[in-house]
């Protein structure tokens, strides 16, 4: 099956449609989730759903849906779900003028860490502005920011998994960046000198184009910092190929600095 980008639903816009956000706290019994889905199947068309467990043993179901029953309101759906044994609590909110915003969640948690969504386009424009204001120094600053962030992330990963396991699982951890939308990473290690060649397809830093930047310095800094932290040597890096210069993917070369 072909890899795709995950869909999340903080917002949905469908002009002319009657939209609902359905949030249900599910009881800790087998079949709770499927019974809610079954209840809803004749009332709404689910656009996107998520389920997750809470620390108290219960689970949450949250979904964005389009109504398939004319004149149906949020209270009707609430009543329907509330009557089910599977539901402990239920909240249904409706959209307005075809616009539905998640009014229930207050952020994103990934493995007990607080996360936030940020538009790629917004981030790359921010990077562009730094480079426009500070010139080549701004690009150096972006490199430093990437480097510092990766050192911190690697430190957290060491604390979680231990350094040996991190080293052993580098390939899997690389996928973590891909899953978070940074780009699809693959790397090769040269047998000659132990240098790394990291290819990033759909690199977030240049995927939206750039007016003031010459390359992906944040990403280069991030990869350099990660290699240094994991393998314990001082590294030098260059961006050999970049989408900004017409290449199909960005390629970074990271080698051990000769002292």
């Amino acid at each position: 099956m072909k890899e795709v980008k995950k869909r999340t639903f903080p917002l949905h816009y469908a002009p002319g449609k009657e939209l609902f956000q359905i949030v249900v706290k599910l009881s800790d019994e087998p079949g709770s989730y499927s019974s809610i889905l079954e209840l809803l199947s004749s009332k709404v068309n689910l656009i996107g759903t998520t389920t997750y467990s809470l620390s108290d043993g219960t689970a949450m179901f949250s979904g964005f849906a389009e109504s398939i029953v004319k004149g149906q309101g949020p209270k009707d759906l609430e009543k329907l779900i509330d009557a089910s044994k599977a539901a402990m609590e239920v909240v249904v909110a409706s959209g307005k003028d075809g616009l539905l915003v998640d009014t229930f969640h207050t952020g994103i948690v990934v493995d007990d860490e607080d996360y936030m969504l940020f538009r790629r386009d917004g981030l790359t424009h921010m990077f562009d502005h730094v480079a426009k204001t500070l010139g080549s120094g701004g690009e150096a600053l972006l490199y430093q920011e990437g480097y510092t962030l990766s050192q911190r992330n690697a430190e957290d990963m060491f604390n979680l998994l231990g350094s040996e396991r991190v080293k052993a699982q580098v390939g899997v951890l690389r996928r973590l960046l891909s899953a978070q939308g940074w780009g699809v990473l693959s790397s090769k290690t040269s047998e000659k000198d132990g240098s790394f060649s990291v290819e990033v397809r759909d690199c977030f830093e240049c995927s939206e184009g750039a007016k003031s930047r010459t390359g992906c310095n944040f990403m280069r800094g991030y990869l350099t910092g990660a290699v240094e932290k994991v393998y314990g040597f001082t590294a030098v890096s260059t961006e050999v190929k970049c989408v900004l210069k017409g290449a199909p993917a960005c390629v970074f070369s990271i080698t051990q600095k000769k002292l």
Partner: protein
């Protein structure tokens, strides 16, 4: 180098405008246009660098220096080492009004990445009060003069003083 080409183009555009529209009074401003002033100082630094090179001192104008980050930075002039730390970098900020703190910050981030022994910013006409305070905090050497051309001998004197000290 691309920036310099742009400056040449701008100078020629101004001259073209003057000739095309018979805006005779505009000739008065031609020598003071930022593009022309930039070219004057750039040529001045080139001369300074070639003089020093002739004396066996490694200098370059303009100078492309790769910083710790791997990013290439361009300076108007630099005194380069045979090995190790860059000795001195010089840049210019020419304006028709006071030069603000963003220009100082822009220079400082390049300096921070390249880590020279001394960093000199030649400013015309002068830094604003806030920019001055920032430059002092960042330990940048500031040379100010209302006449951009005069900044070259000022910078030259400073560079030579540093070379002789060593």
């Amino acid at each position: 180098m691309r920036f310099r080409t742009l400056m040449y183009v701008l100078s020629f555009q101004l001259a073209f405008f003057v000739l095309s529209f018979h805006a005779s009074r505009a000739w008065i401003w031609l020598p003071f246009s930022p593009a022309v002033l930039f070219l004057e100082t750039a040529t001045g630094f080139e001369t300074m660098a070639s003089e020093l090179t002739g004396e066996g001192i490694k200098a370059s104008a303009p100078a492309l220096i790769v910083g710790k980050s791997g990013v290439k930075h361009e300076f108007a002039f630099a005194l380069l080492p045979d090995s190790g730390k860059v000795k001195i970098v010089v840049d210019t900020e020419l304006s028709v009004k006071e030069v603000d703190e963003m220009k100082v910050l822009k220079f400082y981030v390049k300096v921070f990445d390249t880590g020279p022994e001394k960093a000199v910013l030649c400013v015309s006409p002068k830094l604003s009060e806030r920019a001055s305070a920032l430059a002092k905090e960042y330990q940048l050497v500031i040379l100010e003069n209302e006449v951009p051309k005069k900044l070259i001998p000022m910078a030259s004197e400073l560079v030579r003083g540093m070379v002789e000290k060593k």
